[in-house]
Amino acid sequence: MRKTILGSLVSFPLTERAPRPDEHALRELAERVHETARRKLGRSLSIRQVDAGSCNGCELEIHALNNAFYDLERFGFHFVASPRHADILLVTGPVTKNMREALKRTYEATPDPKWVVAVGDCAANGGIFAGSYAVEGGVGDVVPVDLHIKGCPPSPTDLLAGLLALMKRKLPQPKRRFWSR
């Protein structure tokens, strides 16, 4: 174990090591997310993920946000285990009839102020599953949605961009104080 830890300590951070064309954009995006998160949230925003009927594809990419390449926590975002600790609900999937009640209750258990981000094409309007007897529709058909992140599934980069957009457009502007710029 020591070897692995030491190896990690002496090697360069992953994002630096293998720059590829698309990673420049990612880095730029990361910087913007970082700056906005700091200004608006004081580096603290709790996310509760709710799978309301997804195929699990979106979950995999949301998971990826936590890996060393994207490292969502450096912006002050973190995933929490309970809706009672959450500021944002990240909801995936077409909402199935069988999950409708659970989603509503999760929403109600989340304290105000709260924002709902619908992740994936299915979450927008039911996607390919729209019209099924077992599907209620998109997330917006059950709880109010603040932002949609498109994709099937959206890549971690899309998700980062989406969270940035949420902060820019939806979260309240911080009050200007005389000591601030």
Binding site: M1, K3, G53, S54, E59
Partner: protein
């Protein structure tokens, strides 16, 4: 005693039906199948229905053969297989929910996927059976657990992590789990219903979204079933590319889950390193095939994405990275005794149970059932490639982790040879559907995915049935957790990593 195929040959053959036969059987053959299943001579592959008919897909291990028995049910009833063979029970409860057909003699008549929230009952049944109000009105009855000091812990459907929804009802005595009862169906989207009379391309898209982590495996299984029905031979380059994608998907999922099991034992270091390699797999997949999960890349008739020189190089680099990095992680796992303290002897499942349930994948193989669809029903390119199917009989969390580690090594070696031997040529062939039925069994990372389709000459899919390997693994999780402590449930659960979406459909 006659073999499964001899028995089916005596029935009224349905054709064309490929690659394995289906026949309409008399009730005594159905009863005989129940006996064979209960005695362990045959293994249940799946049980599903359509209006007026119940289908039973069986595997005869002695002959390595699959066959489907169908029973006419004009009365809306059929003799229960689950009455004598436990693994059939959830299938029969589903048939009752979806088709309104009654399994006669089944001791468990509780609904399964139908939670009473749909606007129809028996959505896949005969149209005349459709009613407006839901039939399920009473609250779900969990099995009673009695005894001094027994308390219940309800968990879900919304869980604490970034995972799919399902309900677990623990009955515990102190810290020890006396019984776990699963309740699933929360992510039921009615996929089989959406597949009825659907154009082929839309059906393929739906199949690719049954379980996102196994999208390649599902697409491949669906495509193979359609190709079998229509007697279409795909170009060999397409078959090799499918195998390449399947192995990439297997590695990505195994990496994610090995890390997650360790994370559930609070060993985040392993999780972080596995997640990094997993991300590299997804990036290589994206570079080679244009989608991180390779969704919609496999389609009936071949594949929709060919690999170029750059993509090939990315994957070659990826396997070099895995060969360099992964052995260190295996050693890290093996050298960390505090981690093994949690995984060894935890969540034990014995050979008898995995054989009875016909559990596939690493869940079966970690308990001694050496079934791998790539070996039992070899197809190109697997038939020409040498690889091992890691098997053990220790049956605990640790063994399931080890089996998956060994499978990663096998898959890396397979990918290397798949890239080297990749034949030149076309990657797709034209699909012309005909009135026929086809089946396929494809080894996804979780185990064997079974797909049955009925195609129509007008280019649509008349009906399809997709059975996730989790159907036969979820019940074993209930057995694995018995007498373990509640705190070890996440470990046990992650070591199985059954699919909710694939099961609920």
């Amino acid at each position: 005693m006659s073999t499964l195929l001899e028995m089916i040959a005596d029935g009224r053959q349905i054709g064309p039906h490929a690659p394995w036969p289906r026949a309409v059987m008399p009730p005594d053959a159905w009863a005989f199948a129940a006996v064979q299943l209960a005695s362990g001579a045959w293994t249940l592959v799946s049980l599903w229905a359509e209006p007026g008919e119940v289908h039973l897909a069986l595997f005869d291990p002695a002959a390595s053969a699959i066959g489907v028995m169908s029973l006419r049910t004009d009365s809306g009833r059929f003799p229960s297989i689950g009455a004598s063979h436990l693994p059939a029970r959830r299938f029969e409860r589903t048939v009752r929910d979806m088709h309104g057909l009654e399994p006669e003699g089944s001791p468990d008549n509780r609904p399964w996927l139908d939670h009473g929230t749909w606007s129809v009952s028996a959505p896949l049944g005969a149209p005349s059976r459709e009613v407006v109000s839901p039939v399920v009105t009473e609250p779900y009855r969990f099995l009673p657990v009695e005894g001094e000091g027994v308390h219940q812990i309800p968990v879900g459907p919304v869980h604490a992590g970034i995972i799919e929804p399902g309900h677990f009802r623990f009955s515990a005595n102190g810290e020890t789990v006396v019984r776990l009862e699963e309740r699933l169906g929360y992510v039921h989207k009615g996929i089989e219903s959406l597949l009825v009379n659907t154009p082929l391309d839309r059906a393929a898209k739906l199949a690719a979204r049954v379980s996102g982590d196994s999208t390649v495996a599902y697409s491949t299984a669906f495509a193979q079933a359609v190709e079998a029905a229509c007697d279409v031979e795909i170009p060999s380059r397409a078959a090799w590319l499918r195998a390449l994608m399947l192995e990439l998907e297997r590695i990505a999922n195994h990496l994610g889950d090995i890390g997650a099991v360790c994370n559930d034992a609070a060993f985040a270091l392993m999780h972080a390193h596995c997640a990094v390699i997993r991300e590299r797999v997804l990036r290589a997949a994206n570079a080679a095939f244009g989608h991180r999960l390779m969704m919609d890349r496999v389609m009936p008739g071949g594949v929709g994405a060919d690999i170029d020189r750059a993509g090939r190089k990315q994957i070659k680099q990826l396997i070099a990275t895995i060969r360099r990095r992964f052995p260190g992680l295996v050693a890290l796992y093996n050298d960390t005794t505090s981690l093994q303290d949690r995984t060894v002897h935890t969540g034990y499942v014995d050979l008898e149970l995995v054989t009875q349930y016909g559990a596939g994948g690493f869940v079966g193989r970690a308990s001694g059932r050496a079934f791998d669809a790539r070996k039992v029903f070899p197809r190109a390119p697997y038939s020409s490639l040498d690889f091992e199917v890691p098997t053990s009989d220790r049956g605990d969390v640790d063994t399931r982790v080890h089996i998956r580690m060994s499978e990663i090594e096998q898959s890396v070696s397979l990918i290397d040879r798949l890239l080297d031997g990749l034949p030149e040529g076309e990657t797709r062939t034209d699909m012309h559907l005909r009135d026929a039925e086809g089946m396929a069994l494809v080894e996804g990372f979780r185990g064997d995915i079974f797909v049955w389709v009925r195609t129509k000459a007008d280019g649509t899919i008349a009906r399809a049935h997709l059975r996730d390997p989790s159907w036969l693994q979820w019940p074993l999780l209930e057995a694995a957790i018995e007498n373990n402590i509640v705190a070890d449930f996440p470990l046990c659960n992650k070591s199985f990593n059954c699919s909710y979406a694939g099961h609920d459909l």
